[in-house]
């Protein structure tokens, strides 16, 4: 088993004439918290979208857990063990918090369409297990008391937590968080930090896209910086922080 969980090899993506990603290569090791930062429009979310199959890269590709990732197959990315949250929260608003998490269990359970229609004993047992596991995850992110509320009625911070719980429900090897601290106050950010550290402790590798440089530098083992779609540097926070090109990218000098 290789040390590298996810390797991006010269991933390129164009939108018309705009080069959103220019041959980005990076590698995320098992068990680390990996930060991906860069100014607005640097291509961070585009990178995420290519990785999870929402976009098809125009060049290059990903190797995940020793096998190439198939482009254009979001549900297979989930099967392989990649889960993500969204910069702009995308919950199923008209479903309860518990149901949102239960949908995430889909990929790790077997019963199919026929079983659902016939309501076999095995199906019912499995659905009970799904419910149980979903409750545990809500407890894990500390919103179990909101289980039966519609997702759209949850507070902003709780919605962020619910998205993380839903992503964890797929039992990912790699959890990708797209700006989880956006819009959070200092207390909430502190709680989020503890949550992410806990997730890594429990054996899940975390890829973190974030604007909050302080959070990223304090939390991540290694950091990559994107600017204008190109990788500037990939190293430990102490080195990245002092890199002249990074400072220029952020200050626009």
């Amino acid at each position: 088993m290789s040390d590298v969980l996810l390797a991006a090899n010269a991933v390129a993506k164009h939108f018309g004439g705009v080069k959103a990603l220019r041959d980005v290569s990076l590698s995320i090791r098992r068990g680390e918290i990996y930060g991906l930062i860069g100014p607005n429009g640097a291509g961070k979310t585009t990178f995420f979208n290519c990785m999870t199959g929402l976009y098809i890269p125009d060049g290059g590709g990903f190797v995940f857990d020793g096998q190439p990732l198939k482009a254009d197959a979001p549900h297979q990315a989930a099967e392989r063990g990649i889960a993500r949250t969204f910069q702009n929260i995308r919950l199923f608003g008209n479903m309860t918090a518990l149901e949102n998490v239960m949908v995430g269990r889909h990929v790790r359970t077997a019963a199919g369409v026929v079983g659902a229609m016939l309501q076999s004993k095995a199906t019912r047992a499995e659905e009970a297990a799904i419910r149980q596991k979903a409750m545990e995850l809500l407890h894990y992110v500390r919103i179990e008391d909101r289980a039966d509320d519609l997702a759209k009625n949850l507070s902003y911070g709780d919605q962020r937590r619910l998205e993380i719980a839903r992503a964890l429900a797929t039992e990912p090897k790699l959890l990708c968080l797209d700006e989880p601290a956006a819009g959070m106050n200092a207390t909430e950010t502190g709680e989020l930090r503890a949550l992410i550290e806990g997730i890594r402790q429990d054996g899940t590798t975390v890829l973190l896209i974030e604007h909050d440089v302080k959070l990223v530098m304090g939390l991540c083992d290694r950091v990559a910086v994107l600017d204008y779609g190109a990788l500037v540097i990939e190293d430990v926070p102490a080195v990245v922080q002092k890199d002249q090109r990074v400072i220029e990218a952020y200050l626009g000098a």
């Binding site: 549900h75 969204f86 199923f92 008209n94 369409v113």
Partner: protein, 307 residues
């Protein structure tokens, strides 16, 4: 007053059938924003398959009740296969194309299915074998038959089953998740292709049951019978708020009752100038009124991104 109650009962029976068919429209629309105009034809195929199977079994000496059950099951299986094939062959290749394209395809499939049925079952009216004994009941001066009772009860049971499927099972949850956001659902590992196919299959199973009901209610069937029924059920779905399950059920029953009352009283209102065979106008007057004043329907939410 007799005629009022009588028409309410008749409307309830007809409305239960509309509701079952409307559910098929609304499920597919809710999940993928497509009006499957071939859905009425699935009902028609259900009726004709059940006639063939029931008559064949009955001719072979099977008791009529059992033969009818065989016909119902055969109709459901054929329609489920048909619904699955429609999605796979006609609609899936058009996923992501402009909204008008699959709509035109749906109308095309409707024509194809009608003609296919004409080739298989011929152009003549077929009689549907009477599955249930002709028992009459009377309540407060209104009459109804065992068939009518069976239709209402069976539709209620089917709808209860569907609500259970959608709100209490894993498949149902995947359906609702896909309806709300297919991209996110697929990122969570939901195979949205399978969920969409399941919506077609489940809707078609309901259509088959509705087809057998229509057949045993009117005791007559024809390759073009699905067209008007499909339009009415579509109207019912719009009336209730398309994409909304409760709306389709309520819209179906309500439309059935509006139509029945309209047919019962139109003669009085127009001094005998228009007779009850003008009942079809009520459904479409309702459709026009809903589209003008409340296009989201009775139960519908705002569908800004879908409309």
């Amino acid at each position: 007053m007799d005629i009022f109650l009588q028409q309410i009962i008749n409307g309830l029976v007809q409305g239960s059938i509309y509701a079952l068919v409307a559910l098929g429209y609304t499920m597919v629309y809710g999940i993928m924003g497509l009006i499957n105009f071939a859905h009425g034809e699935v009902v028609m195929i259900g009726t004709l398959v059940s006639i063939t199977v029931t008559s064949t079994l009955a001719a072979a000496g099977v008791p009529l009740g059992l033969a009818g059950l065989g016909g119902l099951i055969a109709a459901m299986l054929v329609c489920m296969a048909l619904g699955w094939s429609l999605e796979r062959i006609a609609y899936r290749p058009l996923r992501g194309s402009p909204r008008l394209t699959p709509l035109i395809t749906a109308i095309g499939m409707s024509i194809v299915l009608q003609n296919l049925a004409m080739i298989i079952w011929g152009r003549n009216y077929l009689t549907f074998p009477p599955l249930l004994p002709k028992v009459n009941f009377e309540f407060a001066g209104a009459h109804f038959t065992l068939v009518q009772v069976a239709i209402v009860l069976l539709s209620a049971a089917m709808m209860g089953g569907l609500v259970f499927l959608v709100y209490r099972t894993k498949l149902g949850m995947a359906m609702r998740a896909t309806a709300q956001n297919p991209a996110v659902a697929s990122l969570l590992g939901v195979n949205t292709n399978r969920v969409i196919a399941a919506a077609f299959v489940v809707g078609s199973a309901l259509a088959a049951v509705a087809g057998v009901m229509v057949g045993s209610y009117y005791e007559i069937a024809h390759y073009q019978m699905g067209f008007m029924l499909g339009l009415k059920a579509f109207t019912a779905a719009v009336l209730g708020g398309i994409g909304n399950l409760a709306g389709a059920m309520a819209g179906g029953v309500l439309l059935g009752i509006i139509e029945a009352l309209g047919a019962g009283y139109i003669g009085d209102f127009t001094g005998g100038f228009l007779g009850s065979h003008y009942q079809d106008i009520f459904a479409f007057v309702v459709l026009i009124i809903v589209l003008m004043f409340k296009p989201s329907g009775l139960f519908g939410e705002k569908t800004g991104d879908r409309a």
